[in-house]
Subunit: 345 residues, 2 copies
């Protein structure tokens, strides 16, 4: 499959296994995780070894391909039944990013598309389909990056939240795809990296990608975004998305909504970058997007050490919803979408 | 000196030494630090063993008292010269909280108030003056807590940022003084505790105080404040202050300004709680308040472990300024002040 033009390989397929850059151990260690079965892929998704909506979709697609390879089924119906087990298991890993369900649906449709295929042909077809999802994701990212670069003035200071980079996709990135597109277009952007508690995807992952590629940036605590805007040091905000409703309401990493409110207060454009596979036309608005609540220990602990008192509970929603009214534009591989948004399948 | 009605003693005077609850080691360990010289007090302030604007003022006052006790001066003028050295050294510890300068000025005025006092009498007078600052701070907190409790509806869910509690004062607290006042008035508040990166004063200190006293609360990552408000689960915000300008603009822990913008967006009242010693009538507005920039390692490291890549710089402003226009009311020991604010000495 096509390699993204990155200095690292977040997700790669080796014919009999899926190799994932273990994002839990970045930036300290660059360790690759080999998944040979779909439950290993499901575990990697659940524990955030691989994260980011597009990357989750791609990994899950390869998980289905691995299930097909590992299935002992000798007939088509048995193989399809084994695939349904894998699809159901992979679907239970994380609820918010729609790319997961989109990729699983596409793998299911692919499996059922040609009743003439026997088990061996089906196994090969599913590996090809997952590869196509991978390649299309990279291509979509590159196209959306080029569209988005048009929104970036020369020397712009771009604030981003979480990691919507090469690590969150098959490669290149969505929000960081726009940053990369702007760099390629000679715009010399500077990036403010929100650290993004509790899992620190900004401090650990976005900073790592930008440092690897020599893109100028600085990490700030999430709480410093407001005063950085007030000082006039932010020209635009670009974030990724985990699910976009038909009306443009966007679920993304917890804290995104707050950044959008701050951007509006300061008159700063707020852009969402995502491949079209992140749009869920079945959902009318953000209220219908399921929000994952993760283990409170992600808030109570840091680097494995308890930071809160033993008697203190914590709440840990992993995502929030930014209403379409706060989003200046949504950038996909199809172009720059302006409000009012009316997305269709 | 009068003991605050708390289950712990953040700052206490033992006649020849100042004993500080070492806040760097909370909530894991309850360790007390003994300061016998003013440079030890200065170091405790600089390294955040003691922090919070009113507590810094009280500690610095006792630092001057320690300087008087330790001075070998045999005449009044030599003693006053030694005091000026201590005052200058203590003044250099942290720039933003005005209570520090207020307390140092008050100690200087006390030292110079009666030219008839000899060195021995002056040493005793300065220890008494620092004790008076301590007692007045506790009394002010209690009064402002009672005034502020009137703003808290029964069952209110109060969001607070950083620690403006007993730990940030001589005892009782300012923002948490209002929470304690509301508890005493039978209002049964619940507290959302912003963890307050990078130094985690919310997760470590506010949660510790509330857990110690059995006040219901939950810790959230700072980034979760926005969606907690959007869900309708925050009835009011109460924060402390490090310096309040004549027009009501308020410097407080980094992130406070963002919370104020969010509160305004959601129509939630936003209150500042501080003793009158936090008001700096010499400063017309927030633009003139010096903002401390702390070591970027506070952002780059967590619990002593590097979290960002080696090649990633960080910015670390310790405070931000909330414009008066976003502040519903400022609560001091004198009452509830409503805009427009025109504070005078």
């Amino acid at each position: 499959v096509g390699a993204p033009a990155l200095a690292f390989f977040p997700v790669s397929w080796r014919g009999d296994r899926l190799v994932l850059l273990d994002q839990r151990r970045l930036p300290g260690e660059e360790v690759y995780l080999e998944c040979r079965t779909w439950p290993e892929v499901a575990d990697a998704i659940r524990t955030l070894a691989v994260r980011g909506a597009p990357a989750i979709g791609v990994a899950a697609a390869f998980g289905v391909a691995l299930a097909a390879l590992a299935s002992p089924a000798r007939d088509r119906e048995s193989l399809l039944a084994d695939l349904e087990t894998a699809i159901a298991g992979l679907a239970k890993t994380r609820p918010t990013a729609v790319n997961l369900f989109w990729a699983l649906d596409r793998m299911r449709r692919s499996a059922r598309s040609d009743p003439a295929l026997g088990p061996a042909e089906l196994r090969a077809a599913l590996a090809r389909e997952a590869g196509a999802i991978f390649e299309e994701d990279v291509a979509s990212n590159r196209r959306l990056g080029a569209h988005g670069a048009e929104l970036v003035p020369a020397g712009a200071r771009i604030l981003t939240h979480c990691n919507a980079g090469g690590l969150a996709t098959a490669g290149y990135g969505t929000a960081l795809g726009i940053v990369r597109g702007a760099v390629e277009a000679g715009r010399r952007p500077f990036v403010w990296v929100d650290e993004t508690r509790p899992v620190l995807q900004g401090a650990r992952l976005t900073a790592w990608e930008l440092a690897r590629e020599g893109i100028p940036h600085a990490v700030i605590a999430d709480v410093a975004a407001a005063s950085t805007m007030a000082r006039g040091e932010v020209d635009l905000v670009v974030v990724g998305a985990d699910r976009i409703a038909r009306n443009g309401d966007t679920a993304n990493k917890i804290g995104t909504y707050g950044v959008a409110v701050l951007a509006r207060h300061h008159g700063i454009p707020f852009y969402v970058a995502a491949p079209f596979s992140t749009i869920d036309p079945a959902i009318p608005d953000g209220a219908a997007i399921p929000i994952e609540e993760r283990d409170p220990r992600e808030v109570q602990e840091l680097a494995g050490r308890r930071i809160t008192p033993a008697g203190s509970p914590a709440r840990n929603p992993a995502f929030d919803v930014t209403p379409a009214a706060l989003i200046t534009a949504i950038v996909t591989e199809r172009g720059v979408h302006r409000p009012p948004y009316h997305f269709q399948a």
